[in-house]
Subunit: 428 residues, 2 copies
C-alpha cells in the first residue's frame, strides 16, 4: 500500500469519500462496544469459578501454621499465600506482605504514607517544597492519577522498546534530590507491551539517587501474563539486582491476582527488602488489623503453587490470543505501509499501544466513540492526561468477545484512516 503522505489531494479526496461511505455503514450498525479499560473477559472469569468452591463450610480453615483464617491475625498475610505471591513475584516469602484486593490501593497507600510519614523515617513529603516522580510514557493512567493527587510534579521519560530512557532517568535520579520515585511497569508494559531489557534493569539497580528516600515503584502487574508459550519475556529480578548493586531498599514491587483470579476479589502484594517491609508493617498495623485471610486461603488452595498459576494463565492466553490477533491482523492488513500509525505486537500483558500521526489521537478516539466503540481517552497514557504529540492510543482488547473485537478493530482502522486523511487534507 502506498503511504498516505504520497497521495495527491485528489487521491485523498477520493479516499475520503470512500471512507465516509464506510463510516455511514458502520454508523448504521449502532454498535455498543467498550475497550476502554483492561478488564478480563467473562470467559476468563468463568475459568476461575471453581475457586469459589475451594473454601466451604466443610473446609479446614486453619493455615499450615495452624492459625484460624476466620479470625483476626497475620497482618502480613498467611504463610501459604505469601509463598504463592512470592513465587509469582520471584522473591522470597519474607520479602512479601499479602494485602487486600487491590495493588492500586497498595500503591496509593505507599505514596500516601510517604507523604504523611516519610519513607522509612525520612522527612515526610508534605514538609518538602517539591516532590517529583519520573513517568515513563506512555504509561498507566492510574499511576499518574495517584501522584497528581498528591501534588507531585511528574516528568515524562520516553519509553523505548527495551525500557525507559535510562540516560534521562540517571540524569534526574542521580542529581535531583526532589526526585523521589519512578513509576514502572517493567514487564508487558501498560500500554506498549514492551519488557525492560537486562541492561535496563541493571541500570535501574545501579542508580545513585540524590534522594535517600528515592524508590522505584515497580508495578509488576503482568508478571505471568504471557500470550504465547514459545515467546515469553523474562525480566531480571530487580530486588536481587538492587541488593547486588548496594541499593537493597531502593525498590517496591507490586502485584496482584486481579487479572488472574477476579478483579476486585483477588489478592495483592508488595515485595521489598526486609527493612522496607518492616517499616511498612509498623505503619500498616495502625491502618488495619489485617487483610482478608479467607480469600488468601482460597487463592493459596486453588492455585497451590506457581505451577498452578502458570497453568491457569496458559488458559487465559488461549482466550486472549485471538482477541489480540483481531486487532493486530486488522492493523497489519489495513494500516501497514500507510505511514499513518505504528504499533508494537506485545508478547503479553493487556494492551496494544497505537501511535497515530501527531495530532490525530483525540480525533480518532472521538470518532470511534461516535461509532459506538469506547476506547481509553486519548492522552490518558500521559501525566495530567496530556500527550504532547496527541498520538498515543491504548487499545484494551481483553473485555469484548473475539467477534466484537473484530468489529471494533474494523471501526478503529476506519477511524485512523479517515482522521489521517482529514489531517493530511487540512495541511494541504
Amino acid at each position: 500500500m502506498k503511504p498516505y503522505k504520497e497521495l495527491s489531494k485528489n487521491e485523498l479526496l477520493t479516499m475520503k469519500a470512500a471512507l465516509e461511505e464506510e463510516y455511514k455503514t458502520m454508523e448504521a450498525k449502532g454498535l455498543k462496544l467498550n475497550m476502554a479499560r483492561g478488564k478480563p473477559g467473562f470467559t476468563q472469569l468463568d475459568l476461575c469459578e471453581p475457586m469459589l468452591d475451594i473454601i466451604n463450610s466443610a473446609s479446614d480453615m486453619k493455615t499450615m501454621m495452624g492459625n484460624d483464617t476466620r479470625n483476626y491475625g497475620d497482618l502480613d498475610g498467611i504463610g501459604e499465600c505469601r509463598q504463592l505471591m512470592a513465587d509469582m513475584m520471584s522473591v522470597e516469602k519474607n520479602n512479601v506482605i499479602v494485602c487486600g484486593n487491590s495493588s492500586l490501593n497498595v500503591m496509593y497507600d505507599t505514596v500516601s504514607r510517604s507523604f504523611t510519614h516519610g519513607v522509612n523515617g525520612y522527612t515526610p513529603w508534605f514538609k518538602l517544597d517539591k516532590v517529583k516522580f519520573l513517568c515513563p510514557v506512555p504509561g498507566y493512567d492510574r499511576h499518574f492519577s495517584i501522584t497528581e493527587a498528591f501534588g507531585i510534579e511528574m516528568i515524562n521519560i520516553p519509553l523505548y522498546d527495551n525500557g525507559p530512557d535510562m540516560d534521562m532517568v540517571e540524569e534526574y535520579v542521580n542529581n535531583d534530590p526532589a526526585v523521589k520515585g519512578i513509576w514502572c511497569v517493567p514487564k508487558y508494559s501498560n500500554p506498549t507491551g514492551i519488557s525492560y531489557s537486562d541492561e535496563t534493569v541493571k541500570r535501574f539497580a545501579a542508580l545513585k539517587p540524590a534522594a535517600e528516600d528515592f524508590r522505584i515503584y515497580w508495578d509488576n502487574a503482568y508478571c505471568i501474563h504471557h500470550l504465547y508459550e514459545d515467546t515469553q519475556d523474562e525480566i531480571l529480578n530487580i530486588l536481587d539486582e538492587c541488593e547486588k548493586a548496594g541499593n537493597p531498599n531502593m525498590v517496591y514491587i507490586f502485584s496482584s491476582t486481579s487479572k488472574i483470579s477476579f478483579p476486585g476479589s483477588g489478592v495483592s502484594a508488595i515485595a521489598s527488602s526486609k527493612e522496607n517491609i518492616d517499616y511498612i508493617l509498623s505503619r500498616m498495623t495502625i491502618q488495619t488489623i489485617g487483610h482478608d485471610k479467607i480469600n488468601q486461603l482460597r487463592h493459596a488452595r486453588f492455585f497451590k503453587d506457581i505451577h498452578g498459576l502458570n497453568a491457569h494463565m496458559k488458559k487465559h492466553a488461549e482466550l486472549l490470543r485471538p482477541k489480540f490477533a483481531a486487532v493486530l491482523d486488522a492493523l497489519d492488513a489495513e494500516i501497514e505501509g500507510l505511514e499513518i500509525g505504528t504499533w508494537i505486537k506485545p508478547r503479553g500483558g493487556y494492551f496494544i499501544s497505537f501511535n497515530s500521526m501527531p495530532g490525530c489521537a483525540k480525533a480518532i478516539v472521538s470518532m470511534c466513540k461516535d461509532l459506538g466503540v469506547v476506547m481509553t481517552g486519548a492522552g490518558a497514557t500521559f501525566p495530567y492526561g496530556k500527550d504532547p504529540e496527541d498520538s498515543n492510543i491504548r487499545i484494551a482488547p481483553t473485555f469484548p468477545s473475539v467477534e466484537e473485537m473484530e468489529v471494533a478493530a474494523k471501526v478503529f482502522v476506519l477511524c485512523v484512516k479517515l482522521v489521517s486523511v482529514n489531517k493530511l487534507l487540512s495541511e494541504m
Copy 2:
C-alpha cells in the same frame, strides 16, 4: 463484705497471706489464656460457616442490577450489600459506601485523606499548625493510635453512663477551630459498654463547630451486638438528627460485619450525607478501582436483610452471655462491697470495663500476665496509652471459652484483691 479501706493493718496482712497462698495455687496451674482483644470466639465463627457455601461455582454472580461481581465496577459497593449495611446502620442506601474488610481501615483513610486533601475541599490538615481531636475516655485504643500517628493532639473527655461530658464537648467544639473531630463509639461503647442517651445525641447534632471541617467520627461498631433480647439499648439516628439541626455534613458513621461474620473477611461501610459521600468517592476513585464485590454478594445473600442479621446476632448473644456472666458473677461475688473497684454491666458490645483503685491497673494487668492471663494493656483505653488515674482495665471476655473465662475471672479478682491490699498496706 467489709470495704478493704476499713480493715486494720493486721487484717490486711492476714488477707495478703491468704491471697498469696491462692496466688501460688493459681501459678501452679500454668494457665495460658488471652483476653487482650475483642476477638470473637470460634463458636461464633462456626455459626457463620454456611456463608462460605453461599457463593459457589453454580452461583449467579450478577447483582440485582445485573452487574458482574467478578469484574471491576461498583466503587460504592453492590446495591444489595449497600442496602444491608444501610439497614444495619439505620440510614438510607444512598448514604452508604460499602468498603473493604476493615472499618478501622476506613477510619484511618478518612483521617489520612483529611490530612492530605482536607475535608470536602477545606484546608488539608497537614497545612495547619495544630489539629485536635476529642477523645471520650476510656475509649478504643486503635482510634487513638490513628490520631496519634498523624500528630493530632488528643484531648481526654470523660465518658459517663449516658455519653461523653457534653458540656466539655460543646466548650471545645464550639470555640476552638483546631478541634476537627471526636471519636465516638455511641452504642455499647468500647470499653465501658454504655450507650449515648437521646439527649447526648441531640446535643452532638446541635453542635456549632468553630471549624467548618469538624466531623463526628461515629464508630457504630456494635450497632446490633446486643447481649439480651429484653433489654436492648437503642440510640437516636445521628445522621437524621444532624440533618434536622442544620448540620447535615457533620458526621461520618462507620461500621462493619467484622464481629458478625468473620473478622478480616467481613465487609465495612461508611455512611454520611450525600455531599460527604460524593466527596469521599471522588478521592476513593484514585485509591482503588473497587472493593471485593464477591464478598459483598456473599454477605448480602447469606444474611438477606436486617432480620437475617438480627437473627444471627441473637445466636451470638446466646454464646456470649455466659462469658460475660462468668466475669460479672465473679466481680459481684468477690469484689462487690470491697470498694476496690467499680464496673458496668453492659447490655451489649464486646467488653467489660473495670476501674480499680487509682494507681492499681498496671499492677493488676501485670500480675494477671504473670499468672498466664493476658489482658489489654493498662492505659490502652486512653490517648497516648496514659491513664492519668492508672485505674481502667478493659476485659474482653469473647474469645476464651466459658470455662476458660471462669478461670480467667478467678485470676482477675485474685489480682485485683492482692494488688489492692498491697496498695493499702503501702500507704499505711
